[in-house]
């Protein structure tokens, strides 16, 4: 096992998949000569050339739709959105073309592609550049949505996403790019739709994805000292969601907290709560609580931004409340 960063893991996945399958092309703003706005595509232009690593103009609707069109005839484009904030400009092509093409064509036209880039807030990027939009994509049948929390998951899930015959929305975490973790050598495919218990526990189930997994683990470590044994479940894939893993955990702990960075109203957590109360109603000893980003556009000021994001303290507080502690 090698200790590498989340960024390197993604870069390796891209490189390995491009080597494996020459139907795979990478396109997006600055992915080539600039090596990627966040350097995820570092070295790929040199290695695979300008026919497979394409710098696009700033035209999200156009180049995402172009990627969909290329996928319609069998290429496997990886479209990098510089950040998912800009995917809003392309969302018509993502939803009305990519997600529906197979269905509208009566099964004739699959759209196998990956749309990837960083989601969530960075550091003081302000309202237009700090959004966690996974709930929007999760709402749409025909899409798969992935949001890895560790370098190992990032690599294994991205490789599986590239090989998946559907359109996968792969949401990375800008603030995790530099984080390190063990990544198995060689091929290590992680199947889509399978959650991982990042920390086993008996007392409370905390469901979290992407960066929030680390926040949840932090909280769990502290709660352990207080004698509270938290189980942290990371769905890893948000659509299709591994409801079984979540429900089984809650049936064991009888208590759940759902953590996400995004906005609360109609968020991913709301769906998870619905699933839990529906499938584990008789097991619940307390209402499921949610910890989410503040229900506001992200403010720029450092102190305000910090207060808007879920953190260890907020997760601990929610866990204590579902346990009716203090």
């Amino acid at each position: 096992m090698a200790m590498i960063t989340y960024r390197e893991a993604l870069n390796q996945a891209l490189r390995e998949e491009m080597h494996r399958d020459d139907r795979v092309v990478l396109m997006g703003e600055e992915v080539g000569h600039f090596q990627g706005a966040y350097k995820i595509s570092k070295g790929l232009l040199d290695e695979f050339g300008a026919t497979r690593v394409l710098d696009t103009p700033i035209a999200e609707l156009g180049f995402t739709g172009l990627g969909v069109g290329a996928a319609m005839v069998g290429l496997r484009p990886i479209v990098e959105v510089m950040t998912f904030n800009f995917s809003m400009l392309a969302i018509d092509q993502i939803v009305n073309s990519a997600a529906k093409m197979l269905y509208m064509s009566g099964g004739q036209v699959p759209v196998s592609m990956v749309i990837r880039g960083p989601g969530g807030s960075g550091h003081q990027l302000g309202a237009q550049h700090s959004q966690a939009l996974e709930a929007w994509f999760c709402h749409v049948p025909g899409l798969k949505v992935v949001a890895p929390a560790t370098p190992s998951d990032a690599k294994g899930l991205l490789k599986s996403s590239v090989r998946d015959d559907n359109t996968v929305i792969f949401i990375e975490s800008e603030v995790l790019y530099g984080s390190k973790g063990e990544v198995p050598e060689g091929e290590n495919l992680i199947p889509l739709g399978v959650a991982e218990i990042k920390r086993p526990g008996q007392d409370v189930t905390v469901i979290a994805h992407s960066k929030m997994v680390l926040v949840a683990l932090d909280a769990a470590r502290e709660l352990e000292k207080e004698g509270v044994d938290v189980e942290v479940v990371d769905p890893r894939t948000l659509r299709p969601l591994d409801t079984e893993a979540i429900v089984n955990s809650v049936k064991k702990t009888n208590r759940a907290v759902v953590v996400e960075e995004g906005w609360p109203f109609c968020g991913v957590g709301a769906q998870i709560v619905d699933t839990i109360q529906h499938q584990a109603f008789d097991y619940l000893d307390a209402p499921v609580l949610r910890v989410t980003g503040a229900d506001v556009p992200m403010p720029y000021a450092k102190n305000l931004e910090h207060l808007c994001l879920p953190d260890k303290a907020k997760v601990k507080d929610a866990v204590n409340r579902v346990l009716y502690r203090k």
Binding site: P57, L61, V68, S105
Partner: protein
């Protein structure tokens, strides 16, 4: 600046009288150079589209066809002339007004009619409908309902062909109102920048629903938009199937040989309402205008050209109409005889396994 603006305006003037070459020849001139069998075939395709859609209109009135149903009547020469230039491996993407293009491509009329009627035997299993016809076996990639949506898609299909070094050309059809949407702009810029083998065919039928082109677009000469992308262009008479065939043929060659895109503005006219749920005329155009336009009917024009050149006879026309009539009747019979999709179809084709 003053001088600059006069410069600009001047420039526009010159642009406005768009490339004439494709108009300079009469249909007779072109017909003399064209293979008679081919021309008979083009005529029959146009007539098939006309009769097929007249029947579709009836079925819509009988509520056998639902949703939005956009007819191509009046524009047949565009799809027929354009698609006649393609080889079997080429691609076609169209808007929701695509019945004619699918028929011109040779897709089974029965399967198209069945799709319009929402039957399991439809080209898209009855799940797509009138706006979403697909026939991958013929490179017919839809049928798209969002205005301009097919333009980036077609650009991507062309990208794939170039990437694979396959000599395939992609035709992308859209209406004149679609040039005002962002996806047109973003796509044409990329197609020119990356030199992609695609032909953008703007079917200027004068109206986007109830809005005449001059209330929607700031330039009256739409092919002029190509200047902004350094792209080859031409304005074409869309009522002359041979003029369309020639213009598209040159563009297809440019795409196939040099990987260069082209923007063609093909001037045509829609006889019916925007869709079957809209009136054929009303606030936005008079009945008289529609009738006047029918004088330039592409089928009438081509028929008389071929007659006058002795390529076809009255008798031939009668037989052709009979053949077409049978094809349409068979299509309807096939559709009527086909079952609705199984309820289970709701949950298939959402994701690949």
């Amino acid at each position: 600046m003053e001088s600059s603006n006069t410069a600009t305006t001047a420039a526009n003037e010159t642009e406005v009288q768009a490339p004439k070459s494709s108009q300079s020849l009469t249909q007779r001139d072109r017909a003399r150079r064209e293979d008679p069998t081919r021309m008979k075939n083009l005529l029959e395709q146009m007539v098939l589209i006309r009769r097929f859609e007249e029947k579709a209109a009836e079925l819509y009135q009988e509520s056998k066809i639902g949703g939005f149903c956009h007819l191509y009547i009046g524009q047949e020469a565009v799809g027929v002339g354009a698609i006649s230039t393609l080889g079997p491996d080429d691609y076609i993407l169209v808007s929701y007004r695509e019945h004619g293009h699918a028929l011109a491509r040779g897709t089974d009329p029965g399967a198209i009619m069945a799709e319009l009627c929402g039957k399991s035997t439809g080209v898209s299993k009855g799940k797509g409908g009138s706006m979403h016809l697909f026939d991958v076996s013929r490179g017919f990639l839809g049928g798209h309902g969002i205005v301009g949506g097919q333009i980036p898609l077609a650009t991507g299909v062309a990208f794939a062909s170039k990437y694979r070094k396959e000599p395939r050309v992609t035709l992308c059809f859209f209406g004149e109102a679609a040039v005002n949407i962002g996806s047109f702009h973003e796509s044409l810029n990329i197609a020119s920048l990356w030199k992609l083998p695609v032909v953008y065919i703007c079917e200027n039928n004068r109206f986007g629903m109830g809005t005449p082109v001059d209330r929607a677009s700031s330039t009256h000469d739409l092919s002029q938009k190509a200047i902004a992308y350094n792209m080859a262009r031409a304005a074409v008479d869309g009522m002359d199937v041979l003029a369309v065939r020639d213009a598209v043929g040159e563009a297809v060659e440019r795409a196939r040989k040099d990987n260069l895109p082209t923007l063609l503005e093909v001037r045509t006219y829609r006889y019916m309402g925007h869709s079957m749920s809209d009136p054929s005329h009303g606030a936005y155009r008079t009945k008289a205008e529609v009738e006047e336009q029918k004088q330039h009917d592409p089928i009438k024009l081509f028929t008389s050209t071929l007659e006058s050149l002795g390529v076809i006879s009255k008798k031939y026309i009668e037989d052709m109409e009979k053949r077409v009539h049978e094809i349409v009747d068979d299509a309807v019979a096939f559709s009527e005889g086909s079952p609705e999709p199984e309820p289970g179809e709701i949950y298939t084709d959402i994701l690949m396994p």
